[in-house]
Amino acid sequence: MPRLVSHPDEVKIISRRFGLGAASIDRYLELGGYQAVKKCLAQGPEWIVEEMKASNLRGRGGAGFSTGMKWSFVPKQAAKPKYILVNGDESEPGTCKDHLIFLHDPHSVIEGTIIAGLAVGARMGFIYLRGEYRYLLEITERAVAEAYARGFLGKDIFGSGTEFQIMTQTGAGAYEVGEESALMESLEGKRGVPRIKPPFPAVVGLYGGPTVINNAETIATVPHVITMGAAAYAAVGTVRNGGTRLFCLSGHIERPGVYELPMGYSLKKMIYEIGGGVRGGRKLKAVVPGGSSTPVLLPEEIETLGMDFDQLGKAGSMLGSGGVVVIDDQTCIVEFALRTISFYAHESCGWCIPCREGTDWLKKSLTRFHAGFGVPSDIDNIQYLSENMLGRTFCPLGDAAAMPTIAFVKKFRKEFEAHLNGQPCPFAREGVPQLTVV
């Protein structure tokens, strides 16, 4: 069972029901659940979209797009049925927040899905979890069944005359399916390869109908925004970055865990105060701020850095999915870069060449490099290959592989050079197995 953690600096909005048994509908109702959706039924779709816009809630999957804006792009009149698609295909290395949401508060996802449906005029929602989360699917399915039994889902939700249905399912192991168009393909029973955009899902999505796709954390936040009021929610965060988010602290940290902190919270404080510092009193070497696809940051870069989408963008990285991976000074960055690119080479769907070939060549180069057979031109080649992937692929997986690699080479060039000409890895230690590559 994943351990829950706590810190006085936390502002518990999304996580306020964690550990309180809210997976059961009675407990969820006791804790104020399903009040937001009733408010939305009374206020109507335009009000909901305006509230979402005013809340400055931005997509928690990684892109950070305004949720209210996304919903407003869905045409009011459409020839085909509209759908809500909840992306719980959480697969970005370093990220395990949706895991806790589905475990402790599945009804908040259901309530958020209904509200999204009301906002855009959809009558059906899909909650898609990654295949490995079977036990979480079962928890979510029980919650959906409870909601049906109470008349919160079905032909006439809350006696309002409005219909809303929810279906749940899992994937079967594919990082790429977390990309929105690949997710739709997977839900339609196909290989999870991305679609060419435009058209965007808000116009032509699932089964050809207008579709809103939101990350599970975004959707779980929606009822809280409605309950608190948009202004109060926005006030918790920083300018244009409303509210809180779940940060997943992992790696070489004393107290790893999922902590809910206001947007804009200091990364340095997050590591040293919330997480208790680097494990074993060691020194910080680097930190991956938002999941494995976000460019790594050096200790001197995080001195005054606040964790919101805009500040991370300015620092040359991304807030991403909230996975903060702490790396200590005894870690080999070449090995870390190799493990990262091995993941992307494994997960590239093979649909477009720059990603398929690029990730494979990067993995080959880094494998050889880490084994001590690198030549000086390899370092520039790794960077050249990565830069040629950027922006040249159908979906962001190519960028997700290239961006961190470029940062590793740029920021740790000396360490790459130390692996040259048959020199053993300077971090190789007795009893520490060398990285095998799958």
Binding site: P93, Y133, M167, A174, S250, R339
Partner: protein
């Protein structure tokens, strides 16, 4: 519903248990398009049969009304789906970054030593198989593994023999009382 699909569900003998066959009948009708049921069906079929045998692929194709080739084309994309039997308990060790930083490779090595098998290997008695897998979404509780669908987190190599013994014990318990754990960890 196509003629093909009808005969599959009502007349042709099924490779699935009556419960699973009934579940599939309902699932196919629930989605806006029949084919949407494909990936869940492949997973549930694998859970029951152990892997996607030729007979499983053929029956799923018939039930949905698509070709076997289309089923294989989709199934080969997803890393959890397999075409060969795995062990009764499939041990999946995550070695991605968060787990790696907290000793996942030591853990993986210990599993290899204890079981005497490597990546995608199956023990001679068919009880265990081993896989090195990508991130399983338990980064804050690293290093973590999954045994079939069960998570085990915050592990150390020293805990490996105990985990293996506990799963081996389950099989022995079941041999004594076959109804005790019915339906679990198929």
């Amino acid at each position: 519903m196509s003629e093909n699909a009808k005969s599959a569900s009502s007349e042709t003998p099924s490779v699935f248990s009556p419960e699973l066959a009934a579940r599939f009948d309902a699932l196919i009708e629930k989605y806006p398009a029949r084919r949407s049921a494909l990936i869940p069906m492949l997973l549930y079929a694998q859970d029951e049969v152990g892997y996607l045998s030729d007979a499983v692929v053929a029956e799923i194709a018939r039930r949905i009304g698509i070709t076997e080739l289309e089923v294989r084309n989709v199934a080969t994309y997803y890393s959890m789906l397999r075409f060969k039997p795995a062990g009764k308990y499939n041990i999946q060790v995550c070695t991605n970054i968060s787990c790696m930083l907290r000793g996942a490779y030591d853990l993986y090595e210990r599993f290899q030593e204890e079981l005497g098998i490597g990546h995608k290997g199956v023990t001679a008695d068919g009880l265990f198989s081993l896989e090195e897998v990508e991130c399983i979404g338990a980064c804050c509780w690293a290093p973590a593994i999954q045994v079939n669908y069960d998570f085990h987190d915050e592990l150390k190599p020293d805990l490996v023999p105990g985990i293996l013994a506990a799963y081996a014990q389950r099989v022995e318990d079941r041999a004594r009382d076959p109804f005790r754990e019915k339906g679990k960890n198929a």
